[in-house]
């Protein structure tokens, strides 16, 4: 992808396989720093695997990944994961209150989140302060997802990975989360890498996009490529999703 931006993360000929099954094949490309890049493609294309590679939850079979120009293997895993935050579609929570979940990243470092900081985070993600002592199992899907994003923000990540975080939300919650992500990107200059099945969302929110199929990147560029894809398979995919 040719851009004027420095790469936040760069993949160089990355392969990943589980046993005999090839999940990613020869991935090369960059995610520009401070911008929103969406990852689109059919299920099973390897998008979620690619995010886990960025966060160091798994390592590539072959190839190199660079995070801010430094090989990912040279980072201490804990330092890397605090710098590259991740929010998942399932928004996994630990049993307990919203505050306990927000406090988790600092608790892992032997510190504690103040109540003021927790309230500020809730406000940032558009949630009311009275949710702080609410049990997470009492939250709606949208509220859970926002708490999950707020929890990821506690580490003040420079790069934020998001895996289909709006796919199970209603339209109103979806719009709120989209607005929130744009706000985080503008306010903190956070690099966002966002997996979505919603091409309209990719067009409206993303600056750049990667289209992935069968473990390969088949087209990359500005998000507008989704309106006029050059690759025949991408064109078919876009038509299939839109129709």
């Amino acid at each position: 992808m040719s851009t004027q931006y420095k790469p936040a993360i760069h993949f160089q000929h990355v392969d990943y396989r589980i046993g005999d099954i090839e999940i990613l094949n020869d991935i090369t490309g960059s995610f520009p720093q401070g911008r929103i890049t969406t990852l689109v493609g059919p299920s099973g294309a390897g998008k979620s695997t690619l995010l886990k590679l960025c966060n160091g939850l798994i390592s590539p079979e072959n190839g190199e990944i660079f995070v801010k120009d430094k090989a990912i293997g040279e980072y201490d895993p804990v330092e890397l994961r605090r710098m590259v935050g991740m929010a998942l579609q399932s928004a996994p929570m630990i049993n307990g209150t919203v505050y306990e979940n927000l406090n988790l990243p600092l608790e892992l470092q032997g510190q504690q989140l103040s109540k003021e900081e927790a309230l500020e985070l809730l406000e940032d993600v558009g949630l009311k302060g009275d949710l702080l002592d609410r049990k997470v199992k009492e939250l709606s899907g949208g509220q859970r997802q926002k708490v999950s994003i707020a929890r990821t923000l506690v580490n003040k990540p420079e790069i934020l990975l998001m895996d289909e975080i709006t796919s199970s939300l209603d339209r109103a919650s979806k719009l709120e989360v989209e607005e929130l992500i744009s706000k985080i990107n503008r306010k903190y200059k956070t690099t966002i890498i966002w997996i979505t099945h919603n091409l309209q969302q990719a067009l409206e929110i993303g600056d750049y996009t990667w289209v992935m199929m069968d473990g390969q990147v088949v087209e990359t560029g500005e998000s507008s490529l989704l309106e006029d894809p050059q690759n025949g398979r991408v064109e078919e995919f876009v038509k299939g999703v839109v129709s």
Partner: protein, 249 residues
């Protein structure tokens, strides 16, 4: 008990055999094999124990205990096949528990260092430690599998493997200790323990039998706690690699 009286106890084997035949339970063969095996194994152990007691040699005591540990490790390791190096982890746990408990018993002069005490007590400690290991491994394997998302959540937030597995580890330790604690709560009310009953039947003073039973119960509480905690802390690091990634299946 005379041999005639002993042979009459086979009535207690005939009853379930008749029930199995009448109700077509299909357990006749298994029960016959179990009965024959128990007669041969226990008689053999009886003669071996008599020989060891008479010889008063520490070497034979050591060999008996070593045999118990090998047999218990072999039995328990099947339940932890998913954990790398589980055989030596169980063996180390059993040896540690045995050395700790016998060290306290003999070191504080609670029981004498003779075969008559060391072997039966070791049998109870190692046997219980084996059952605890199986209970712990069953639960821990299930917890890790069921809460993979929680483990990855904590890792993704910058937690260490120990932090990521902490809740599953604690849940498994607690769950495996529950049967020991619960059976202690009802002892004497619901059941009279086998060892105490045996002593009383053999003509021992009931108060002395109770004292020994208390000793064994407290010993088994330590066995339960130390086995699950020790095995837990030996096992969890093998679920992760050096890059702090959760290894799957």
């Amino acid at each position: 008990m005379s041999y005639w009286a002993l042979s009459l106890t086979l009535i207690f084997v005939l009853i379930p055999l008749l029930l199995s035949k009448t109700l077509n339970l299909g357990l006749g063969r298994d029960m016959t094999v179990a009965t024959i095996r128990s007669i041969i194994q226990l008689l053999a152990v009886g003669y071996v124990l008599k020989f060891v007691f008479d010889s008063e040699s520490l070497v034979y005591i050591f060999l008996m205990v070593a045999l118990m540990i090998v047999a218990a490790t072999h039995n328990a390791q099947k339940k932890g096949a998913a954990i790398q190096g589980i055989t030596w982890k169980i063996a180390v746990t059993l040896i540690f528990v045995e050395v700790l408990t016998q060290g306290i018993l003999i070191g504080f002069n609670i029981t004498p260092a003779t075969a008559q005490y060391i072997i039966p007590i070791s049998g109870m400690v190692i046997g219980n430690s084996m059952v605890l290991s199986i209970l712990f491994l069953n639960r821990f394997t299930a917890e890790v599998e069921d809460h993979q998302d929680q483990t990855e959540l904590i890792l993704s937030l910058g937690g260490t493997p120990k932090q990521a597995i902490h809740r599953q580890l604690i849940n498994s330790i607690k769950a495996s200790m529950i049967p020991t604690i619960e059976s202690q709560k009802t002892v004497g009310l619901v059941q009279l323990p086998g060892m105490m009953s045996g002593q009383i039947i053999a003509g021992a003073d009931p108060i002395q039998a109770v004292q020994f039973q208390l000793l064994i119960m407290f010993l088994l509480l330590t066995t339960a706690a130390v086995t699950s905690v020790f095995l837990g802390y030996l096992s969890y690091p093998t679920l992760f690699n050096k890059r702090m990634q959760l290894l799957k299946g």
